[in-house]
């Protein structure tokens, strides 16, 4: 061996790297959620600022404490805990007591994310896992969407009851619901931002929405009624779920085919929940149930490499 070695570093190819990092992606998703967040604050009042801050800070805090106690590397810098906190907050009713926010953050970060091995290992979306946990445990708080002088049913419940809703209001965001779901417009602006940056693509949201619409035309009981379908699409957090939660990388399939199957499953499940219940959390349930199917979907979606040749034909070219 040649002993006079200099200090050049030897690494395997490739020698250059793209400048996207996990942290950068998470930060851009947080930025993309800002229109919906700000709209929620403006629409529901200053109390929601407290809800959002408490949820986000507790999420970061629980991640930090868990990793500190178990002497793991501290990963709060990758912004994923902050993002989970924000998503959870956006899925909360506007007048939720703050202690529930703390419990929710604990469930999301510790039970759903960290106990399964931290970022990248959780099999369901932490924010939605926590939301569903809260809905089951604290149903009365989690389904009370009353704020200020307004009270009553969410537009989805009204639709179910056959009442007329103002779809224009639903799209712009003058209705009741969780903090982040009320303005379809704000959500779509954020989604466009992510699509333009290439962080998400339309595969999952697209198949989800299309499947849901088809399902609803067949089983919704009103046939092809654009007004009714728009109301269904704009309500119940479907848009927030489709663009920001179903597209969560960790808990969705990695291949294109897998994503299509995932989107179809989401559409069907959401439809089923809507037919049988008007619950505001149907979308959340649909997403976490689909999350559980991801490993199966990945196995169903057969992989074909470039130049794939069917094995039976024994080397025959296609």
């Amino acid at each position: 061996m040649n002993e006079e070695m200099n200090l050049m570093s030897v690494t395997s190819n490739p020698h250059i790297r793209d400048n996207w990092t996990t942290q950068k992606i998470m930060m851009h998703v947080i930025i993309a959620l800002m229109p919906a967040t700000l709209f929620g604050v403006w629409h529901f009042g200053a109390y929601t600022i407290a809800v959002i801050l408490v949820t986000v800070i507790s999420a970061i805090f629980f991640e930090f404490m868990y990793e500190k106690l178990l002497k793991l590397p501290i990963t709060i810098g990758d912004c994923s805990a902050a993002l989970t906190g924000l998503l959870l907050a956006l899925n909360m009713p506007p007048r939720i007591p703050l202690w529930i926010c703390v419990i929710g953050a604990f469930v999301a970060i510790v039970l759903v994310k960290q106990l399964f091995g931290g970022l990248g290992q959780n099999f369901m979306n932490p924010a939605l896992g926590a939301r569903c946990f809260l809905v089951i445990s604290f149903a009365s708080y989690m389904t009370n969407f009353a704020y200020d002088t307004y009270s009553g049913a969410t537009p989805l419940a009204q639709l179910k009851a056959g009442e007329l809703v103002n779809t224009f209001h639903m799209v712009v965001g003058n209705e009741m619901g969780t903090i982040g779901e009320v303005s379809v417009l704000a959500i779509v602006i954020g989604a466009c931002y992510l699509i333009l940056l290439g962080i998400i693509d339309l595969t999952i949201p697209g198949t989800y929405i299309v499947t849901f619409v088809i399902f609803w035309c067949i089983f919704g009981g009103k046939g092809i009624d654009p007004y009714y379908i728009t109301g269904q699409l704009a309500g119940g957090g479907l848009m927030l779920g489709a663009f920001f939660m179903a597209t969560d990388y960790v808990s969705s399939p990695i291949t294109f085919k897998g994503r299509v199957i995932f989107g179809i499953l989401l559409g069907i499940l959401t439809g089923v929940f809507r037919v049988f219940a008007s619950g505001a959390e149907g979308v959340s349930y649909a997403i976490i149930i689909s999350n559980l199917f991801v490993p199966l979907i990945e196995r169903w979606a057969p992989l074909k490499c470039f130049g794939y040749v069917k094995p039976e034909k024994g080397g025959d070219k296609k």
């Binding site: 061996m1 040649n2 070695m5 200099n6 050049m8 570093s9 030897v10 690494t11 395997s12 190819n13 490739p14 020698h15 250059i16 790297r17 793209d18 996207w20 990092t21 996990t22 950068k24 992606i25 990963t75 990758d78 994923s80 931290g118 970022l119 990248g120 290992q121 990388y249 960790v250 969705s252 990695i254 291949t255 294109f256 992989l303 074909k304 490499c305 470039f306 130049g307 794939y308 040749v309 080397g315 070219k317 296609k318």
Partner: protein
């Protein structure tokens, strides 16, 4: 194979975009470098059996003299590129990092050249003579693979070859050697294609160039206007368009896998510089001695393209390019995506050295790995349509079955997956080593099975004899 529709691109791949950095050396004309120090000729600069030295220490050699002859059919001759004295035949480090037996020639600075047989026009040369000339000249794939070209040019059924593709994509960032070749010696490139076309009566020639080199496309289109058998294709700029399998797909719509040869898709693919070497070998009987090397990177004072005699020391090229501005953190032989990083600059230019890239900063070494977030960028970027994130995980666990079920052995080691991964996982590295292990394991299993079968056979025979 029925498809014949050019796609002009392929699925997957990456866009290094503004990281392409070709502008640094793109407009620097090729400069010929005369070596000063000793020249080193490793006997293995190609895929296949090492060449056998035919000179001894103390022998005088001339430029263009055979110094090592092919050690088999899949092997290649090696020629002296200067005149001088054989100083030693010993192990020397090569760019890929190994120590390889090398013939070391002390340059006498006279550049005395042997007499080559007289040049002939292509019409007077038979097909057999073309292949013999290519074989004799020691030509190998100069794009990086180093597969002996005469083997490529001898497919089972030459009448089934529909396309001869000149791979001038040059998709690796930073590299400009093929581009300069096209701009400065387009007639040699076209001449080379015509030599190869002569071998395949039913074939059409395609010069495939990425569309980020519009002037090269224009020039070659103009020059091949009156060549009915040669077309110029502008392919979409995307890495790794220059991969053999993907350039075939882009030009013909035919997809091949790792178990197939380009000839199975009716194609012969040769790199730009290789075709120039073929032209010289066939028409002028001059062996492969030179190649174009881009010396570039942000640590180099004066990035350039050089015409270099094989065997020249890399250090001399760096000096020719003005030396280092600052001490580089890594020096790469080849492009940034598929090149090898060197830990010793005292290595020779070989037949497959396309570039010397000197970087102030070694990004790969500084990248901090974080957990996979399953974002799918590696899947989108993989030109082979694999799932690199899962392959790398199986590679870490040495799970052969899972790795092979996901077609791990189809990986072309292009590095796209590692490049795009936001978690900075060294995906390509893991997959590459697992692929090696897996191929080794397959061979061992096959060998064991063969031995077992032979033993059983022997036993049976033994039994019969009794």
């Amino acid at each position: 194979m029925s498809q014949n529709t050019p796609k002009f691109t392929f699925d997957g791949g990456i866009h290094p975009g503004n990281r392409n950095n070709k502008d640094i050396s793109k407009d620097k004309p090729i400069k010929t470098v005369l070596p000063k120090g000793d020249l080193v000729y490793p006997v293995s600069q190609h895929i296949g059996a090492p060449a056998k030295p035919v000179v001894a220490v103390g022998d005088k050699v001339k430029t263009g003299q055979l110094i090592a002859e092919a050690g088999g059919f899949v092997s290649a001759n090696i020629y002296a590129t200067v005149s001088g004295t054989v100083k030693a035949i010993e192990k020397h480090r090569v760019p890929v990092g190994d120590m390889v037996l090398s013939i070391i020639v002390e340059n006498d600075g006279l550049y005395e050249e042997v007499e080559y047989p007289p040049a002939k026009s292509l019409d007077e040369i038979s097909k057999e003579e073309i292949i013999a000339a290519v074989k004799n000249a020691g030509i190998v794939g100069m794009g990086g693979a180093g597969f002996p070209t005469h083997v490529k040019l001898s497919p089972k059924d030459p009448s089934k070859i529909d396309y001869v593709i000149a791979n001038c994509a040059e998709c690796e960032p930073y590299l400009t050697s093929d581009y300069r070749r096209m701009m400065e010696n387009p007639e040699l490139l076209i001449g080379g294609i015509k030599c190869v076309l002569k071998l395949f009566d039913n074939a059409k020639g395609i010069i495939a160039i990425e569309d980020n080199k519009p002037d090269a496309i224009e020039l070659l289109t103009k020059l091949t206007k009156d060549e009915p058998r040669v077309d110029v294709y502008a392919l979409k700029t995307k890495y790794p368009q220059g991969s053999e399998r993907h350039i075939i797909y882009a030009c013909t719509g035919r997809a091949i896998n790792s178990k197939m040869l380009p000839a199975d898709a009716g194609c012969i693919v040769d790199n730009c510089d290789t075709l120039v070497a073929i032209n010289e070998a066939v028409r002028n009987n001059i062996p492969l001695m030179y190649r174009i090397v881009t010396v570039t990177g942000d640590a180099i004072a004066d990035p350039r393209n050089f015409k270099v005699r094989c065997g020249t020391n890399y250090r001399e090229l760096i000096d020719e390019a003005g030396g280092f501005i600052t001490e580089p953190e890594c020096v790469i032989s080849g492009g940034p995506m598929m090149g090898f990083s060197l830990f010793d600059l005292d290595v020779p230019v070989t037949k497959t050295s396309s570039a010397l890239l000197c970087m102030k900063e070694d990004e790969a070494a500084h990248a901090v790995e974080t957990p996979c977030i399953n974002c799918g960028r590696c899947v989108e970027g993989c030109p082979e349509k694999l799932i690199p994130s899962q392959l790398a995980t199986y590679a870490e666990h040495e799970d052969y079955d899972a790795f092979n079920n996901l077609f791990g052995k189809e990986c072309i080691e292009c590095g796209s997956c590692s490049y795009v991964c936001p978690a900075k996982r060294p995906l390509a590295q893991a997959i590459k080593s697992m692929k090696k292990l897996s191929i080794g394991r397959d061979r061992a299993i096959a060998a064991a099975e063969k031995a077992k079968a032979e033993a059983a056979e022997a036993e049976k025979k033994g039994g019969e004899a009794k």
